[in-house]
Subunit: 691 residues, 2 copies
């Protein structure tokens, strides 16, 4: 904690001061860094990259830094095509006249609160990356790689001095590998991408109603009967943890108890609160199976299991889930309520309600985890007046519960607002600050907010699509966790995000390349252009509407148009922005009008091109109607634009008719929605206003 | 052997008889099967696919078939977006009214010569897939999936009766994981693709001068000092073997001895024939380090090591390499020739030459492998008059050596002609029959030819590009190994290959999707269209020219234009075909003229669009000159086309001048070559011929 808070105070000084610094320079450099460093000073000149570039490591480094620097060198070669002379950086090889010197004071530890600060100084003749720990140096190498630029002379790095350290020490991505299993390569490429944007915790959600995903030697039926054969072997778990550690990323496992437990009781029905037998759940939702808190067997079982996992997962933090045993609005703890045994237990132990029963269970969990050297982490619901404050609360239900936890003395993590499975736009997540200035917390209480995590729940993602839900939005969230609070210019975030998203492909991420691939499959290898024009401006429906509109199971295909469609559709977002720009200052803004005209023309004509493709591929039948709508409303938009450009006012009857058509186009189909309707509505309304 | 030869006799009856069968049908179906089955009979009608589709398994199946059928069901759902009712096929679940019934007489064994035949009968009301073994059923499921078609009513399967069995029992893909390490996910996705085209052997080249890629507990320095940290753990090897076995694919390891041994002696210099010390080789080529055949330690070492690997790799076939100790034309066995100890040993044992020394070594290898229950396989050079005929010869140097081996009583495999690293066109490999009718072999000798393997040597491929070298060409080679000899219509192969290549993306292969990704990186995320137009018609230089033109090391970047460029560039091939069609029958062929005109116009104008992209991305500088050439020669082609279309004859001086320009355009640059020059030359020559 000390390092991190110290760093926060020292470096919380940015205020986009780079933009003013830019003015002082002769040739302003538009930096494409994400997360934005705490402090950047521009110098004059540049370091020109040539094929003689070499890296030396000095100080007191470890093997991780040698490997990390070698990887950075390969990535630089990969981007530039330059044949660098160095093969592998090694302690036993002396490097003559290095271009980049990395100095590291001591080997870091991959643990919460480790120093991740670094200073990067790029001068025309040499580059120095200095860090307390190798972890700081790895973070600095990512910044270094993001600085690679091009001018008429070739590749270069701008002369800068960067001082950087994270705002929050806990910067996580949660991957749900239970609802859809995510093979090791999926996890690894996401770890690489996490490292690229300086995230440092993989929270691995490993059990849920739909699957138990870790091999247990203590209780082998867990993976044998609870997984359909899709689970990580212990060797694979170790492989992933080592891979993460090489990148300075901690791995925190989550085994969800006592609820979300169908896969546990499918394997060991004797753990359940109802008689069973149970089967792995295939549907999505919240289900009744819940561990039995009254049986000693339950605790013996978990003691043995957590003991096994405590050794396998070396990080001291251990997440026990704890969510959704019951929910005031729509879900009761049925198996507890209906069990005479549990009711008697409640009475005997004077437990007022099910929350108290869960707290009783959690006290036992805490004892077990403490015995195994672990710090207990859980979702909101583990917070209870009877629980000590040495547990960590992860807030998913809302910021209020995080605030309450901090006020009561609990450390906490924010997940609420970072649910990337809900298909919300990047700026929504980006502007969700874990610790806004106006929170009703004392300085001491604020220190209890350790950071945040973005959560990739996996009901509607497969290994093929998961990257497109995580990235690029998670890069913007990573900036929220790392960069100073006042780095919050949404336009600049989107400008940088486009570049960073492209760079992330370097790690094998499929968020970009699987798009065309999925469209090829959907068209049966016809020309994808018209389908792409359409899918570019739709998004999957938001929040929990997908399942409401069409019930899915764990084996439903995730290859439809809704799966190819991506969150925060860039083409639609840019169009909406153009319309706003145009309407706000339309006299000066011919570019916006031209771009709007171009987009609407493209879409108006698109249905004619797409229709034969739809007819030749039955899986596309569900978009025939919205594709037709897109053409129609684009025609409406063009009419509105003509009124506006000719400075004429449309009749009220025209407006009413067109708004009704637009309103129909808002209807979700195929669990997707057109993301340009609201902007066209604005054009229609503006066209019919007196000017 | 029996099953396979029997099958060969029964089913070697096709002669593209499907095309004549098609004529008998009312609505001819253009099948897109690869490999083409041995026998197809068309029936009337079709089976309509709906979301009530279910699969049942009968007979005497094993778990592998349940898993395989479940995967097939998921793939069908993935392609069609249909929500099928079945989750996992399981022995304990009775399926009511299945649409597809799979009957399997007995569990197959993943071993050489196992029965892989199947019969697939699709009728309007139901589908029956019958096989002797589950392996045959898995092969049949791939054919079934390739038959999925579409008409106005939706998805369907045409009514057919297919009887099928392989021509050769050994149908392999060799992956070199030594020169560039190929992580587990690369191997797995290629195993899926292999299964899709009915290949059944993964030959895994695991050691070479540039890296030793398997964890050895017996001799841990092999992977510790011989791999730069890039090796498969034994757990990963087991994981891959199990994954392959699930798909009916054998895994044969190759540990190359006594040559290609730098990584061995880098770890254990005492194995070497020269004093050492040694370092892992970073360059490409043939190197001197070779194991010492005179020391008992060498044999003790290999006994222990092969003993360990014999357990790890369950297949009885074990490849010991054995290639390139010396080569008559350009390489001597220097370390043997210069070692007094080895010279004395030669004398003492009356060994005439180094080939005899190697044979002496190989006799020891054979003893060791036999002791560990393995059948010895090696490259051409292990053939020696002193060796018994119970070893398998893999012919890489030419068909002649395979023929000689067969004549001398050795079983053999053909690799020559299937070296896909040499960037030759698909039809070259496709028409390379392992066993042409005119071979000077008796019937008994012909039976010695077990099959063939395509070889993916990895000097110039990385995990990012390897799929684009293996696929789709290997699908055509797979047809050569599986289908009857007289399935050899190149045009029809290319027609089907385009569809199959697209379908192979289903397995996560990157041969298609990494193309655009690499172009994005090369352009630094500019519009890739002009670069794509250019790279679409270039190919990497062929055979071993890449390294001759620019020396590479094992850490040179493989991200340049030459790496994005693909073998057998389809756009160029189609253009050449159009030109041939046009020139052969140009009066009737206006379509060809139009297509030629379109292509040439596109390319002529492309340089102007590509030049600013090149200027903004230094890695593209090396294509400025060939891009300019493409525009110029396309202009020449358009001139020639005008002469031809206007029925005018160009002057000889014009021809000479243009041919000289074309000749200059043939010069490789950036280790790539323009693949449309020869066709434009033909146009120029034709334009200047008297008509």
């Amino acid at each position: 904690m000390t390092n991190y808070n110290c760093a926060r105070i020292i470096f919380a000084t940015l205020a986009l001061f780079c933009s003013s610094a830019l003015l002082a320079q002769e040739k302003p450099t538009k930096l494409e860094l994400m997360p934005m460093p705490a402090k950047i000073e521009f110098q004059s000149g540049k370091f020109s990259l040539t094929d003689s570039f070499k890296i030396a490591i000095t100080g007191n480094p470890n093997q991780r830094l040698y490997s990390g620097a070698t990887r950075a060198l390969r990535r630089l070669a990969g981007r530039t095509g330059l044949f660098f002379p160095q093969d592998f950086l090694r302690p036993d090889v002396v490097v003559d006249s290095p271009a980049l010197t990395i100095n590291c004071e001591r080997p870091g530890q991959v643990k919460f609160g480790e120093d991740e600060s670094y200073t990067l100084t790029i001068a025309p003749a040499q580059i120095l990356l200095a860090a307390k720990t190798d972890l700081g140096a790895l973070r600095g190498l990512e910044t270094f790689l993001q600085l690679l630029a091009v001018d008429e002379q070739g590749y270069y790095f701008p002369s800068v001095k960067i001082e950087d350290a994270p705002r929050f020490a806990w910067r996580g991505l949660m991957i749900d590998a239970s609802r859809h299993f995510m093979p090791v390569d999926v996890v690894k490429r996401n770890l690489d991408a996490m490292a690229a944007v300086k995230l440092n915790v993989l929270h691995w959600h490993l059990s849920d109603d739909q699957g138990f995903r870790v091999e247990s030697k203590a209780w082998p039926k867990l993976h044998e009967l609870g997984s359909d054969g899709f689970y990580y072997t212990q060797a694979q778990i170790r492989e992933v943890i080592a891979y993460a550690a090489e990148r300075g990323i901690r791995v925190m496992p989550e085994f969800d108890v006592p609820g979300h437990a169908t896969s546990w009781v499918a394997a060991y029905p004797e753990l359940g609160s109802a008689p069973g037998p149970y089967q792995i759940e295939r549907k999505w939702g919240i289900f009744y199976p819940v561990l039995n808190p009254t049986k000693e067997f339950t605790y013996q079982f978990l003691d043995k299991f957590f003991g096994e996992m405590a050794v396998l997962f070396s990080d001291p933090y251990f997440h026990i889930g704890g969510d959704e045993i019951e929910h005031a609005d729509y879900h009761e703890a049925k198996h507890w309520n209906e069990s005479a045994e549990i009711q008697a237990f409640k009475k005997k132990h004077n437990l007022a309600d099910n929350a108290a029963v869960q707290a009783h269970f959690n006290q036992r969990m805490l004892k077990i985890l403490t015995k195994h050297g672990k710090i207990m982490v859980g979702w909101d619901e583990i917070l209870h007046k009877s629980m000590p404050t040495n547990i960590i609360i992860q807030s998913w239900r809302g910021r209020e519960s995080m605030v309450q936890a901090a006020q009561q003395g609990y450390q906490s993590l924010l997940a609420n607002g970072y649910y990337i499975d809900l298909i919300q736009p990047t700026d929504f997540h980006y502007l969700n600050d874990p610790l806004p200035a106006d929170l009703p917390l004392t300085g001491e209480q604020k220190k209890k907010i350790l950071g945040g995590e973005t959560t990739m729940w996996a009901e509607y993602v497969s290994p093929e699509t998961v990257d497109s839900r995580i990235w690029p939005r998670t890069a913007a969230i990573a900036e929220r966790f790392w960069s100073p609070q006042n780095v919050n210019d949404v336009d600049d975030m989107y400008r940088r995000l486009e570049v960073i998203s492209f760079q992330l492909e370097e790690h094998g991420l499929t968020h970009e390349k699987n798009y065309a691939m999925m469209l090829r499959r959907l068209t049966r290898n016809q020309d994808i252009t018209p389908l792409k024009n359409f899918v570019d401006v739709i998004e999957p429906v938001k929040i929990y509407n997908r399942g409401r509109l069409r019930p899915h199971t764990s084996y439903s295909p995730l290859t439809r148009v809704v799966d190819a469609a991506r969150p925060d559709a860039a083409a639609a977002r840019k169009f909406r922005r153009n319309v706003d720009d145009y309407l706000e200052k339309r006299q000066q803004n011919h570019t916006s009008a031209e771009q709007i005209n171009f987009s609407l023309g493209l879409w108006r004509n698109n249905h004619a091109a797409l229709l034969p493709v739809i007819k030749a591929s039955p899986v596309l039948a569900e978009i025939e109607s919205p594709s037709k709508d897109l053409s129609e409303i684009s025609g409406i938009g063009l009419e509105a634009l003509t009124f506006l450009e000719q400075n004429q006012t449309a009749a009220a009857s025209w407006k009413d008719e067109k708004l009704e058509a637009l309103s129909r186009a808002k209807e979700p189909r195929g669990q997707t929605e057109l993301m340009v309707v609201s902007a066209i509505e604005k054009l229609v309304v503006a066209a019919s206003e007196k000017r």
